[in-house]
Symmetry: D2
Subunit: 429 residues, 4 copies
């Protein structure tokens, strides 16, 4: 992992003080704001192996600071409870063994109050660290911890959405956060890009994950990128045209999945009496036809593109196109956790940041010259470079405009649907 502590790194709030400590406080408190006012019950269950309980996310993000900073660098630090080292390690083999991932929903104790106490304990000792022991070597680790916590903030929203969707009462996680906007999507246009050798990736952003580098050159043919994401209305046309019943539109593994799981629409869609509804973090809502389609897998994005007789962009086409675009769009800080057409983005590539993550046609693989570091932090990204596809651009659940970058690589298996993942089309020039 290579990071640099950076003066200009944007904070999750627009507060004037963007010191590292101020941003630490802002990021940490945003995690708690997500669960504020919730009954303890909501923070306990795990709805599938890929998702984790809210309580676990709150604890694990604290574990990260405790493990990689307090235990190693703060003299006299005493953990609140030794067992947390095991209980809240996610997957860092170099740190030690881990509690079984699919069992995370079984842990009723520590309670929510205990976990909040754990957070306060870590925060208090981090304050000591900031005051007395911060060094240039430690600052990048703090930065990483903050970006790590921001990633978990996104997962908190997508995991709890998946959990709430299991409940036939379809409860509202945050009333008002999912209402349709009624704003029109506007026509779909295309932006063109020239053939050439381009530089992609980064070695020197204020902060970046190790998987975003090394910066390197790629050869791209001329291509065009769609001016906005595919909408629910457009996706509905695909459904109505028999999209889920036509094997020739699907990759072989995708077709098996469609049939094994009985997929007939994106995740969280439901049709009753001829009308479509969509489950959101603000409860069930009528389907907003102009909003970007979301909760589709890579398989569905790929099938849709084939049906539309175009294709998905590679991650490098996306990056070349997006580099100079403004980082507008809707993010988690807006507390409107459902994509819609009414965000602040403008220009030839609307909503390229925020709104929905955009599936690319690129497998998640190391860049030329990438080697994961040998320590625990080297496990952060590199070991997942197998059987996953890259997504770009951030979503309504991504915690702040400051967290996203043109070079940011998100990745999920091609059948994953519980993220706010959508579709931006590309085509050969």
């Amino acid at each position: 992992m290579t990071t640099t502590s950076a003066v200009d790194a944007t904070a999750p709030t627009d507060a004037g003080d963007d010191s590292l400590e101020a941003r630490f406080e802002a990021v940490r408190s945003f995690s708690e704001s997500i669960v504020e006012g919730l009954p303890a019950e909501d923070l306990v269950p795990q709805s599938m192996e890929d998702a984790s309980p809210l309580k676990w996310h709150l604890a694990h993000t604290s574990w990260f600071f405790e493990t990689f900073l307090l235990r190693e660098s703060l003299p006299d630090y005493r953990p609140l409870r030794d067992e947390y080292a095991y209980l809240f390690n996610s997957y860092y083999n170099a740190v030690g063994p881990q509690y079984s991932r699919p069992q995370r929903g079984m842990i009723t104790r520590p309670t929510v109050a205990d976990v909040l106490e754990y957070r306060a304990h870590v925060n208090q000792h981090m304050a000591r660290l900031f005051d007395s022991a911060m060094t240039a070597e430690l600052e990048p680790v703090v930065e990483l911890g903050l970006n790590h916590e921001q990633q978990h903030q996104e997962l908190m929203l997508t995991d709890v959405k998946h959990l709430f969707a299991q409940n036939p009462l379809l409860p509202e996680f945050r009333p008002g956060s999912g209402a349709p906007s009624g704003a029109p999507a506007g026509p779909l246009g295309w932006a063109g890009f020239e053939e050439g050798v381009y530089w992609v990736g980064t070695d020197d952003a204020p902060f970046f994950f190790d998987n975003e580098g090394p910066r390197h050159q790629v050869f791209l043919r001329a291509f065009e990128l769609a001016s906005r994401p595919v909408t629910n209305g457009e996706y509905l046309a695909f459904i109505d045209d028999g999209g889920y019943e036509r094997s020739n539109l699907w990759l072989s593994a995708a077709w098996s999945q469609v049939n094994a799981e009985g997929w007939r629409a994106p995740l969280y869609w439901d049709r009753r009496d001829g009308e479509w509804f969509q489950f959101t973090l603000g409860g069930e809502q009528p389907l907003d036809l102009d909003a970007p389609v979301t909760h589709v897998s890579h398989y569905e994005a790929d099938a849709y593109a084939r049906w539309a007789e175009v294709r998905l962009p590679t991650e490098f086409e996306w990056e070349v196109a997006a580099t100079d675009q403004p980082r507008a769009g809707r993010f988690a800080d807006d507390f409107r956790w459902q994509p819609s057409a009414d965000d602040a983005s403008e220009g030839p590539l609307r909503q390229i940041y925020g709104g929905v993550w955009e599936w690319t046609s690129s497998a998640y693989l190391p860049y030329p010259g990438f080697y994961a570091s040998d320590d625990a932090i080297g496990e952060y990204n590199g070991k997942f470079m197998s059987n996953q596809m890259v997504l770009r651009g951030g979503s309504v659940a991504t915690p702040s405009a400051g967290h996203i970058r043109p070079t940011y690589r998100n990745f999920f298996p091609p059948d994953a649907r519980w993220q706010f993942s959508g579709i931006r089309l590309a085509r050969d020039a």
Copy 2:
């Protein structure tokens, strides 16, 4: 289901007032006493498909009164929430469809407070029913509902024990409820019974489940029954003699299970540094060698008996022997939820009631002349008469001495271990 409302049915408390309404209040409040003072988190998760969350038990037992009494027989009854009819139906197909059983741990709303409100709502309207609309036809249904709730009280204890055992912190559910007694088990003797034709089952107990009748005759050869259950110490001798490694001691299906699951001791036993511990509802405790062995499957009980060169009793041998014994022993009301040798039972068949359920060699099958009734309540017992074995006598988690009878038939699959199930040996005379 055939029941009779009965004047002399024993109440779950020793209060003087044993009216049906008084017993209703006592049974209902005992359910709440089990969860009193617990954090909400403890009531949410489901640790396996066979177990249910505490919150679900609290709601389902209320659903029973609502469905079979209030909705049908109380004029103007308005349910607190219509969706509960679906959400808290366990398995009554005649009533309607049911929420998926293995998903019961996903329901965070209604919260614990909501469920307690639901209980209060049902109780309040039951009071109305007692005051205004109780009839001789309804009283047996109330009786059934109370016995049903008592069965769920036992499951609350066994299910939460299984849940807590998943937590590597091994939390205490009720401090003090699992401490070893130090009392000696005493020597094992044998009580003899003559060959003959005996009457078994009941048609006229103050209350009984439909599966306990019709009363009928069976032919029994002369037999002997052990004077007390097998102890942990005796079971340890079986383990130390290679009991879990010798295929010839096991039924074929049992041997597959032993190897597939890696069984090497009863559930909840753990050996560290040469010493044995046992997880209890009062946290982990040193193994009490004189206490009755518990959390063994039928497969293990059968293998132990074969190793001991004797056998398990049939359910009829057990019943003939137990009929005249006093219903002493330890029950749930004692709040000491781990079997031990120091209970109040005496006589030639110590601890035959309470302590541990005793596996018999009898498959759970209908008695001659048994036919389940055609209505929903007919689903209570009859449809489970497949692939299960009968247990007799009650346990430390059985809610009260009044709930148990000589003719009471409990049943679980032969590989089940999370109940307080133990072993009483028999042999041919």
Copy 3:
């Protein structure tokens, strides 16, 4: 295992010479007659874990004689190939480890010719044993080996039927062996039996398996037994009346199975263009409405009986009724391997032997006083006394009238359908 070599045991042929050696030759050659003329391909695959390849049956039955007689009792015996001891051991842990059961279809070598050579080798040395080393102690083991081989002859037919049914070409295993007879079933009557204490089981039949004893007394209430099995036509009425869609007719485990497997008719039935067909060892045939229904599970037999408002008999009711009936009916030697109404049975309980195995309501459990012997042969029956139901009477695939007895207990799990299992009803008097 207790057996007695018996003068009057009936041979699988009607030859005059019923010496043990003559019967050995007859039984052994009948196994080979089943596969005579088949292409080698038919003898190789295994269609499910419960079934075995024909080739394996031919080898394993020889392994039995080699293991329990030749290796132990014939001086200078040299096995044809040492590895067969491992490869063809079915489940005798006392003999040694076994090749993985679900992998039996992977063994292409030894070839069919090799296995026939193995059979010849064993036969030739068995002849030496008969000539030179036969003793009163060995004769019962030979008897057991013959009855064992007869049981495998039945499995050869049922296993290969299951295999052939996987082939969409629905090939004929033995042309002509499954043709419908057109004979009428006749009306269903009832034979009555008195309440009383009866003796059941045997200790002294010419030959019997250990699970048929000890002979002991049971108390039976008065009952009636149907005069013939349920027919396909009667079962069709159950189907047409929504039998497979009505949860209240089924045991809970049965209802899960019905829905998980999509059962809507007996195994091997197929409906096309409004007409029912049935796959037989003679290829697909129109459904014979008068023939006994077969390839139904215990679950289906039980549901049918509940629908018909009667019940299944216990195994003891069946035995008491059947004891004095003639052992007519159709058996495997007839080479007509599909039940029909036109067999030779007569009297008040037609087809009580042969035709179809009749499911009873009795779980397969040890008789009072039963203990399996400690040696390998003790594994023959006892260790399977778990989660199985008893069937009585033999079927069209049972190898000969001499193999069946009133006390003979067959057993299969309640969901098994690939045996020739059918239904005879009972009711309370």
Copy 4:
């Protein structure tokens, strides 16, 4: 699918006549030569879902010619049996439904003789087609059919090897075909290549699969490629250094697989009494330390490279390096079906063709501008572009030097081990 019928395409034999018809005859007869002299039993079973029976391969390759040529283009063609259209369709949804893939080992009829008759029938009518109805449009389809059959010839060898390995007798498929050579591997060197933009893929090879094009440019950094594959001896050093026990060497999905499957060595390796053996198509053999390691997954190749502190090449690095190398090395026609150091390859990149397929670090994805055709033949390659990794160069089981090309892309999931897959290392310059 784009193909061109080509004058200079090399035939699987060195016969002078390289007409399309001559090559048709040569390829078809090579399939039969693989099974020549085998007992029918060997051709029936299927050892896992990914593998198919030999008999199925023989039939399916004939089905291909029947379906895409004879049925469509030969007037008056009559299929031998209509059901084969369904039975031997592998995965072409556009052609129609398919017999269940995991059930291919259940088909005993048609027999081997029937399938050989089917092959003769197809061959005979293909001869008619060559004589009377061949056109420039059909020739590429014939070419595709031949290359398709050659691919299945490789699968015949790898599938039957997997099948035979299930048999504890470890039979020899072809005696002598797996003997170790004793030839030395020689030291490992490195060949260097410059940074630059390179052309890769093909649009105009005499024959090529659709996935090899369009030809396009890629930017490569300077790199070096190993002069020969990794040997068994070198891989043993990785094992002995704890390679399979060190989580930090493995991708996360790989580490799960290693532990779930208990991998401790390549597939088919066995260690007894301190010595290593390897199962081959010529039976079990001592491990040849100088031979290229084979039957390793992508996961193992990747972990080995990380252990060796280098990496795997991308498919484009491999292609750039291999383009000018001679297509020497050992292929299936040699009937020596185990890699060894003694083949005919020479130069700076020994054994780059033949011997073992070489895992690359590239995911199997479409080239820029690739679109699968809309017809059934479009299903050939494109729909598998998900969750697979590219292998290059051919193996000892690849049917002939003429079948392989620098641009040839083989692909398997990263956990596949039953192909002759090995490792060639790369590193940054």
